[in-house]
Symmetry: C5
Subunit: 368 residues, 5 copies
């Protein structure tokens, strides 16, 4: 649950834990305004010279034009690529460090010429745990850079909207593009919440019908997943409320209306996560009381059987003694009288237990 | 507990998850001032042309007059209807999205020409769970639009007051109408609280008299219902306190006095919900300790019976042995002496258990 | 614990749930300044004409004089009486509604010409639950109105001080009178705290000496009472801190010094209530562990007895078998040797259990 | 834990619950500046005329001189003494009331000519509970009055420093003296924390080595003591932070630097108390699970013994039957074969239990 | 967990609890600017005269030059050394007191000519507990003093960076040096978090596979360690946020950007600690329910064996009685019929228990 690459203690701030030999990332760029759109892909499979020539071409066009440029860098470990981009967009050492040393806590930070936004995008794994990936967004006046940990397709719908000029995205500036990207990221939380909701319902049914040891580990896993989800969603709230408080000039008023929508979604996600956490917390109590109930049922069976047969065995033991002078043994009706007496005692006890409700097969079968 | 229609991830903000073929909603309109009132119903059963002609007529009269117009749209899924209304009252894309994609978290939001208020109205179902419906209210300078999920009669008393000019509603503007509508919605929480209160009292009695497995699930259901209720009432508080802080110009000072009354009600509802939650939380502890008490009683019965008869059986076993040289067996008084000894031992043990209070039938009957 | 009269959903704000035929309340009035004091009683047993003539006389003298008038209305259900008072002091519809629809949450609210303060006065019932009564205080520039639910004598000491001109009450304005009345109300919490404190100590002793099932219900009742007390005292804090923040012009600086004293008392009450709640919360844990300890003791008795006698019975059983070829049976010393062996085994086991501390009668007697 | 003298409900604010006949308190006075120091003791054993003559002399010298006067009044119940001091230093009625009606909640309060500071000084009793005493400090421009509940020697080190002109105390004003006195009071919390820390460590060891019933009551007592300590230290924080926020003109900037030091101490005390509370909270869980573990061990012993011997006894019972036709009984090797069979069965069961780890004497001895 | 040297109660503030005879500390100094760097070591093994001559030389060069001076004092107990440094850099009495009386709560404090920062550096001991050491940093305009409790090598990487002019450290002022030192201290928390994370994972596995008594003490130790870690990291957050709020002029804007990075790290550490605390809290519940499950399994074994054999023994007992008139005994097939009947009864019971799932060896072996 907690694994992170650290720079060595006391190292120069911004030290990159990079592998100079790691693959060059795919970079997909869009340059667009209301009237036209240009799309380039700088593939990591190109050879080095070609690759950087292509990259420089994309970068240089940002500086010249008033159009919005979006660079989507699909991995963050190649040193040379990062250096060129950092130089072109004058990224601060600490910004680079935040982008590379994943995962950082989600945050927003203003630098001289841009705003850095770090977000966390969760994935629900097979075993119902959460893995979190970092996406870093650098928003400048006429450009947006996105850095992903791995090449995923989370931004595909945005690409479609740019190509097809759907909505107001092509008419608006870099801040609106940033909004659209953030929105696409936050939307990823909802299907996860839904799956967890379904999972909690399953656990609930299991708790009622047939609680067993796997139920316990299911409850624990659900609690841990919710804990992770909560830790990853909470910081986003601060990010969006900081934007709404108008702390960053790059976000214009019209865009802030849309960011308010993301903020509302985030609050809702938090709400649901907290509600689920309370529900899951209650499950543990139910599980514990169901174990106790089971123990009660086991003990009732033992007690009923023992309480009936131990006294009867005692009476049988009495008449199994070898005293010479035991007149009952010689009586003709001693044996049948004893049998009847035993039956009466046993039946009386059964009746008492039935009155106490210790025999009710309904209860016993219910939780067996 | 958590089911929601989502727009696809990354779709254009304000995308409507609408069914073009869904039924046209009933729309009931009031146009009134102090002196006169006009009521129209635009029924969903009319054919398309008639329906929209009627709708346009209602809408156009809003623009012209200084009177207050109230449109009550009794379902939100017909695309054409929504589009016309959105156009007429220049509703923002995000507003439409909030109205359609139910349930949203309750909130208040100012747009250029109107304020959007989203509220949640709860219903207590048969099985003691809560279902929540969204009501969206758009408050303009001289109009109020209400969008309900289903055609319910929650606003009937308000309609009566408009028709009969009761109270100050006909003398006041659109903000006072909005207040009256909100008040009618919030009032729905009180009877639910009362029912839950009664339900908690029943559980409490059951816990004292005869706790069983259905008690456990009753406690759990009550806790979950209170959790839902809490999640749905809390956001309202922020809404009303925002109005009281005078953040929205549309609400005049005289109306704010009344909104303060709703605010007080909301705080009271929250208070009661939190108190109930604490009570219900305590129930679990009592249930657990009652299970443990029951186990104690079961074990006492087992222990008393075993402790008395196991030693006695041992003595009977001794004299059931077949050793040739056992002088007691041949003594004339061996048998009666042993019987008396056994009786004394048994009685002594019973006395000890009685001193310990393990026999007190009062206790056993109490929790059987 | 939660019972309230509601106005019907959606009714005109300020609708009174009044019975026109209910008895006219006793009204006791004081009109005083530094030099003279006049006391009137308008008894509910007078006939209607007399009653209202008397009432009007009292009311009219408020308007004319600069002296302080205090009207103590000792029940709030007679419609005619309330209407006349509301008219005379121009009370807002919502004020009347707050006074009549008891219990309201304690609060303070400014209206044009007066401040409305709603307080809760608790009574500890026989069964250690709390019942709360509402007292509404309307403070004008030269008058104070108090509305009580029932005719109680909580204000008697204040009446004495006015009659005898004790302290500074006769020299000060209506705000000081209001302070004195509030002080008398808040003082009622202290003896209740003291009684609850004594009750908690009794429970504590019971937990240590002899925990039983009534202890459990005592703990639960105490927790519920503290919950009620907390819910009723907390809102007062906001009231007094609002006065201290100088939000209400009617309270002069000299009076605010005294209100600060009430504020300190309120904080102290809250402090004690929270401390008691924590203590009572810990009781449950102790109770649970005492049940478990009892179970342990029961099981130890069973285990000691069974573990000693079951093996011994087995040996007796061996020699009770009827095999023809059992040489031990015919040996002369078989029987005494076996008896000695059994004694040694039994004694050894007892010694082992004694070493384990399972026999220590101290422990068993302690919690029996 | 909660005992307090109350003034009767509704009495004039500032009513003193005093005994006119109580002993006159010892009063120790210092009048000093940088160059000289004068010390007087006005002993409670003097006769009335002498006593008040002496007192008046001390008081009068305050008014005249610019030197700092410190009056340490070592009991607060004599009415005449209090009245004279109140008159001389024009103390507000509420101030007197706060000084006399102990214990008040610690607080700071500004009056016209002085600041009243009420502090709580704790003592750890033999039985590990806390008793709290109130010390009231009145700080004027050139005088400090301290009122103690009983004649204790908590201020002795300060007296030494004044006499010997150690540190800057003789060079500074009344605010520095007040600081020194407060510091001496707050320092009393540290040794108590240390003792409680040692006590918690002892409990912890007991929990690991040999948890028993006295452990439970030790845990409870520790929790209660920490609760009391917390309730008494928390309000001090507000006092010192109010001084640091510069709300009281009497405290000069140089003194505030020192008060910041006390503030830091207070925060540290709170920190430690909260940490201890969390530790003590965890103890309960450990205790509960240790009881359960013990029960498990008891039950394992019972189960092992019963499971081995009950089946064996059954087989012995079979061959103790008196059927005529039981061929095994007449076989020569019946008996030894059965004995071997029994041994094999018993040994097998023992082996199974050993595999399950139910026999491991290490575990059993560990918690016996 | 809580051990501290206290100055005697009521002593002069700033009293040093020093040993005049304690060893003189090693002092390592750096004097540098962009172009040159000078390094001195004033070893504690020098004789007194040499030592102080050397020390004075270092100190005097601070006053003269505009270069940055860094004095690293590697122990704080020698009185003479401290006095000289305090005099040279005009340290306030309380500053000295904070440096010497370790451990103080981490804090930041401005004095006339410098800022005092007190930090806590944790070490994870062998037994998984935390020990905390204090490092005090005094930041002046052109000097930084660091006081360590013991001579550790935590600042080595910074020394390397100064010598090799790596990063911007040699180009920046004393505030940047302070930042670098603080960064090196805070970085020490990360490896500890990682180790605790691994430890928690081990506990988790143990809980699932084979919970035993050492698991309980592991959980408790982990919780206590996290409690200590939390107590030591929280105050740092206030320190860095105070710097970010620009409360201290000595920290320039460029440096504050870097401090923001430390702040983010601190928030992340707090985040992880709180997450771990929640996880560890859940472990206790799992442990308790695993004990209960084990008890259930033990009781099932006992119940199955007892329930089968006790009734069978009873039947054997019946036919072991010595009544003369028991016809079954003389029947030829009595014995085999009884054996068959016993087998049928036993098998039936086994079948019932198997249906109940009490026999499933999978379950029993799982948690044995």
């Amino acid at each position: 649950m907690y694994r992170k690459k650290y720079a060595p203690i006391g190292s120069v701030p911004g030290t990159l834990v990079l592998d100079a030999n790691s693959d060059r990332p795919n970079i997909q760029s869009f340059i667009y305004d209301q009237n036209h759109v240009e799309e380039n892909i700088c593939s990591g499979t190109l050879d080095s010279t070609e690759y950087f020539k292509e990259l420089d071409k994309i970068i240089s066009s940002t500086a010249k034009s008033k159009e919005v440029t979006w660079l989507d860098i699909k991995s963050v470990l190649n040193e040379e690529t990062l250096k060129r981009i950092a130089l072109a967009y004058s990224l601060h050492d600490l910004t680079i460090s935040d982008i590379v040393n994943v995962p950082q806590r989600p945050k927003i930070e203003e630098q001289e010429s841009y705003v850095l936004i770090i977000l966390a995008i969760p994935t629900l794994e097979e075993d119902c745990t959460i893995s979190v990936e970092q996406i870093s967004i650098v928003v400048g006046t006429n450009y947006v850079l996105t850095f992903q940990e791995h090449d995923r397709d989370v931004f595909n719908p945005i690409r479609q909207r740019i190509r097809q000029a759907k909505g107001s995205i092509r008419k608006s500036g870099s801040d609106h593009l940033a909004y659209a990207l953030i929105d696409a990221i936050i939307d990823n939380y909802f299907p996860i919440l839904e799956e967890i909701g379904t999972h909690l319902e399953e656990i609930e049914e299991e708790l009622v019908d047939n609680p067993n040891k796997s139920t316990l580990s299911d409850i624990y896993t659900a609690k841990r997943t919710l804990l992770q989800l909560r830790r990853s969603i909470w910081p986003h709230r601060e990010i969006f409320s900081a934007i709404l408080r108008d702390e960053f000039k790059i976000f214009k008023k019209t865009t802030r209306t849309f960011v308010r929508d993301i903020y509302d979604h985030t609050v809702e996600i938090i709400d649901v996560v907290e509600t689920y956490r309370e529900l899951a917390g209650g499950f543990m109590d139910i599980y514990l009381s169901s174990i106790s109930n089971k123990l009660n049922d086991v003990m009732k069976v033992l007690t009923v059987i023992s309480t009936i047969f131990i006294p009867l065995s005692f009476f049988a033991g009495i008449y199994g003694m070898n005293f010479e002078n035991m007149p009952e043994l010689h009586s003709k009706y001693g044996y049948p009288i004893l049998l009847v007496a035993m039956f009466v005692v046993g039946a009386t006890m059964l009746f008492i237990f039935w009155k106490k409700g210790w025999l009710s097969s309904e209860k016993i079968s219910e939780d067996s």
